[in-house]
Symmetry: C2
Subunit: 348 residues, 2 copies
Amino acid sequence: MKMRKCFCSSMIAGLVMMAVVLTGCGEAVSQQSTAPKIALAIHGGAGTILRNSMTPETEAAYRAKLEEALRTGYAVLQDGGTSLDAVVATINVMEDSPLFNAGKGAVFTSEGTAELDASIMDGRTRNAGALAGVQHIRNPINLALRVMENSKHVMMVGAGAEAFAQEQGFEMVPNDYFYTDRRREQLIRAQQEEAGEMGAVLTPALSPGADKFGTVGAVALDRDGNLAAGTSTGGMTNKRFGRVGDAPIIGAGTYADNATCAISATGHGEYFIRGVVAHDIAAMMAYGNRTLKEAADTVIMKKLGELGGTGGVIALDREGNIAMPFNTEGMYRGSINTDGNLVVEIYK
Amino acid sequence: MKMRKCFCSSMIAGLVMMAVVLTGCGEAVSQQSTAPKIALAIHGGAGTILRNSMTPETEAAYRAKLEEALRTGYAVLQDGGTSLDAVVATINVMEDSPLFNAGKGAVFTSEGTAELDASIMDGRTRNAGALAGVQHIRNPINLALRVMENSKHVMMVGAGAEAFAQEQGFEMVPNDYFYTDRRREQLIRAQQEEAGEMGAVLTPALSPGADKFGTVGAVALDRDGNLAAGTSTGGMTNKRFGRVGDAPIIGAGTYADNATCAISATGHGEYFIRGVVAHDIAAMMAYGNRTLKEAADTVIMKKLGELGGTGGVIALDREGNIAMPFNTEGMYRGSINTDGNLVVEIYK
């Protein structure tokens, strides 16, 4: 059924493309210049990701999943889907993978539970949806979209958000759906570190990078020229229950405005909230006449560090320019630019 | 005991002032030019506040309480207290008064409960504390300050925030501490309106203004030149439980940075989140070289309206300039400027 839908959409897209190519008294028009620009960028968390602590197998697994997420979202854009739909489809791939700290494989709170946050924003209308502290929603980004589309509110938290989800027909999954042994070990290590057991600090990481924080996100530009951004996370390992990071905060972890850019952030969320990082990049473009790259670099490589924060962003403007600055050792990231070139990277 | 502390502080302040006046080989120096600038502005909610729906007694009660809040916070600043302390003291007066939608007298959720949100930000460090969805904290702004000072997090919600409060020695009050008959009637009216009972719409308001939303907030400048901002609210009448508005969102309802300004917002929170209103004013000053008044007016009187939002802000910069734009019929507001002049206003 899903295949058939894709097939139909592709056929329609093909017919549209033929119409474009045959326009103007039958003369062939350069497809490159008339084809609408589409683009997509993603991240899967930033942190102390070192090449020498990564096995070839693990690195290959991350690269493959990032590429799968990119190709999934890009197919939506190619089929004429909206940037919002592309963001959701892309993030779902990473939420469903235990490799990333979002959905399945989310980090544990200090209570040994999973508490998930997510947000999404539509650059066309600047409408937005966000939720924090949910424990039973398999794909939090889908609920963020639903909050945006089907409620009069922008942000909902905890049991109230889940009551809304149930009304909207969302399946409730048990909290242990999200649990993985790797994240349980990270919690134990973090709690040992906090208790001052220095031996624990010296234990080699059982898995590379983004131990404490790390988040997934996507930004997309669709054929109508509309931007969208989304972010989904389990937050920080060993966070107090009830803690909310930047991922569900519009302006901090997520922001989209067709007039400037779409941003999704990952890193030590408290600093991203205090710096209003995502909106700061947009504002520097709007009021300071900076390019996407200049603004994103200044905010992440200079201002965030001055505040004491670590992490990175993915940024996309309406021309399809992409920037992915981070001030950590690595950031799982990838993009498909307006020429269709796919790139997946992990280290600096 | 409190009187004695004030007396001592005043004495110290007096001695400092004498030292200033007698500096420079005993020549008298203009007190105006050497005295540190202090200033304070507050709001108590924006909305459909019409002169002809307000009895003289009610108007007098609002004016008296706004003045009491201003004088309380100003005394802190005069005694050499920090802008953070002044913001908290000012907001406590309004939280404790049933006139305002914060603390005692908060509006009801659709479930008939009170759920409170608050945030505070230090312009010197850009540190911040915020909480949402608490039901048992008498003065939410005090807990926001404690989150900022005594936790590694910026934002905490619901039961997790209350568990932190208990650890910190906060008294837990029963939820019905917040209830007032006036807010119960507003809930009934809002639910009748939502159900399409048009008669309800025509019922004269039982109390003037800020029926649906309304929030309290304060911004302060202390003698060390540090800005701070804080906001506290019960949210929107008939909000779904779990809904979070702009008041606890750093960048939306509250923002402070010594480099630009301190802002506290009130109004239809969803639009303030989407517009990242508080930070947008600061960013327009930082990157667009606009004055406080130009930036605040542009964001509230132009951009917020274009998005469809209603409400206002109080804004204060490091020179002590004050702006209080709003695009509603009225906003409970007041200020004491750097010359010590006190103003309290309600209507346009």
